[in-house]
Symmetry: C2
């Protein structure tokens, strides 16, 4: 029998999964639709069957799942593997004992963690943090929301609710836009994918983004950070909007560097695909604002794993717990 | 022979020292003037003699110094006990091997640390952190400058240069006032003692602070946070200025809570003497801005040790190292 570990990234629309061997080598990856409206029991049963099916495929039916790690979009009770607050799924998903339910079905331990903290584990074990056991690293996921994760001296910082590292909800502009969280001027209101796309759409409507207009047929709802990334080469206003958003990310990064003096900052999520414009702006803002100690040695990099960070982190979680 | 430990708080104008026994009980405290212009060799020699003298006083000449901890205002090489950048002393104080010099004189190990990180150790060992070995605590010293220190899971976070925790240089207002550090809109520009006193002085000059005017004979240079604290009970504009500054502290505290999810925030330094106005404002801003997890269980308190935090922390440092 072959010992196998499964990593699961549970999203609002898709469930991504990977099966790894005991060395952490990924043997296969696949995904299914979430259909969260079916309710937690049905969805978890489907995920369980999906994992068994994937395990059988890589082992000719001779594999056994020794552990499952799962990243979920929201707050969880890490110790007990129970969901707490998952804003992107239905309200049925509150207080679901996911670890117990899936463990009954699969007969192995199940570990649950917030998805961005899980992606942070991915970067730690398989990305920029690989082979650096004492690294202090901050991961910021710039996507539909903005989240983060802290690794301090090689160890993921969770806090009592697994909620440490919510860097998207730092106040950047005290009188800034209202945030979904209830506060205002959070980084998420200024540099999430939707925030940037919405500014791109506005610039297009007032005639300042002809290239973007052509790319999305003038439909504001079609504006994506990807389209903006292309348009930025020809539309100066779009480029400026991206630089503005990146400057806010830079302030958030400068603040966390001033607080923690980490070895590395890793930027992930869809917005990170802006690549050089984002990284160069963030680095310039950090050099400008962090003056209390030299920052040349602090690396500011794009995620090495990209969209795979979540599922890879879930594999790392399956293999070893993050809670003492 | 009695085993003794000395804690030293080296400031720009005064050197405070305490002698403790091996249990950490403070036996005596005293202070001398720094006269930093005499240069490091002369000042350190004087400090050494002062410590020997204090030790002899508490032990009838039968004591021996087993260790000295010293907090200094600036950056130090913690591993080697060498000063790096001490902006409040003369330039002669750069790269001084304090540990070696004082150790030659006293014949015991000398440990050096930034003064605010030392005060953080004081709160950890003798103040709010006492008997809480796993506490995660953030100390913010609101004085002439604004500094801070982080205790994560019971352990002081230093970072590679002992510079982690520089919370006074978080950006609070991206386009705010120029800061001494070279950045702008840092917490220090908005909530240090001088920043608050300068606003008090301005309000007095334009006739909005009659009580403060009486207290300081209309002399702007005489305005202190202490005078403002008294005037705030009668001058609404002064009260408002204090609340404004406290709101900025609140934003900084909210950001660090969102980042680290600590158990406790401790506010120290001269500005902390505003007491209730400061604490209530900070607590209200935190409740308003931290929405990602419940904050009721996060204590936000005034320093228990006040001006003694530095020298008490230096005693803790003398008794046990903070570096692995």
């Amino acid at each position: 029998m072959k010992e196998l570990f499964a990593g699961v990234d549970l999203g609002g629309t898709a469930v991504k999964a990977a099966i790894a061997d005991s060395d952490g080598t990924i043997l296969t990856q696949d995904s299914i639709a979430t259909h969260s409206h079916d309710g937690p029991n049905a969805v978890l049963k489907r995920i369980g069957e999906f994992l068994v099916d994937m395990s059988n495929r890589v082992s000719d039916g001779h594999g056994t799942l020794s552990g499952v790690g799962m990243g979920v979009p929201g707050l969880v009770d890490v110790q007990n593997g129970i969901t707490k607050f998952l804003p992107n799924l239905t309200t049925q998903w509150r207080d679901v004992p996911v670890a117990d339910l899936l463990s009954d079905q699969l007969g192995c331990p199940i570990r649950l963690l917030n998805d961005v903290r899980t992606a942070t584990l991915g970067e730690l074990h398989f990305g920029h943090g690989r082979d650096r056991p004492d690294i202090t690293m901050v991961f910021i996921a710039l996507g539909t929301g903005v989240g983060g994760g802290l690794v301090i001296d090689g160890r993921l910082r969770l806090g009592p609710l697994g909620a440490a590292g919510e860097l998207g909800h730092q106040t950047i502009l005290p009188q800034g836009p209202r945030c979904g969280c209830g506060s205002r001027g959070c980084l998420e209101t200024l540099a999430s994918g939707p925030a940037i796309a919405s500014e791109g759409s506005r610039l297009m409507q007032i005639g300042l983004a002809p290239t973007l207009h052509d790319l999305v047929d003038g439909q504001g709802d079609n504006v994506t950070t990807k389209a903006m990334s292309i348009a930025a080469e020809h539309d100066p206003a779009i480029r400026e909007a991206i630089v503005n958003a990146a400057s806010y990310v830079g302030i958030a990064v400068a603040n966390v560097i001033t607080t923690l003096h980490p070895d590395m900052i890793v930027l992930g999520g869809g917005v990170a695909q802006f690549g050089r414009i984002l990284l160069e702006t963030v680095r310039a803002v950090v050099a400008d604002r962090v003056r209390m100690f030299p920052t040349e040695s602090i690396a500011i990099e794009q995620s090495q794993l990209g969209e795979q960070a979540g599922v890879m982190g879930a594999v790392a979680l399956a293999r070893s717990p993050v809670v003492d």
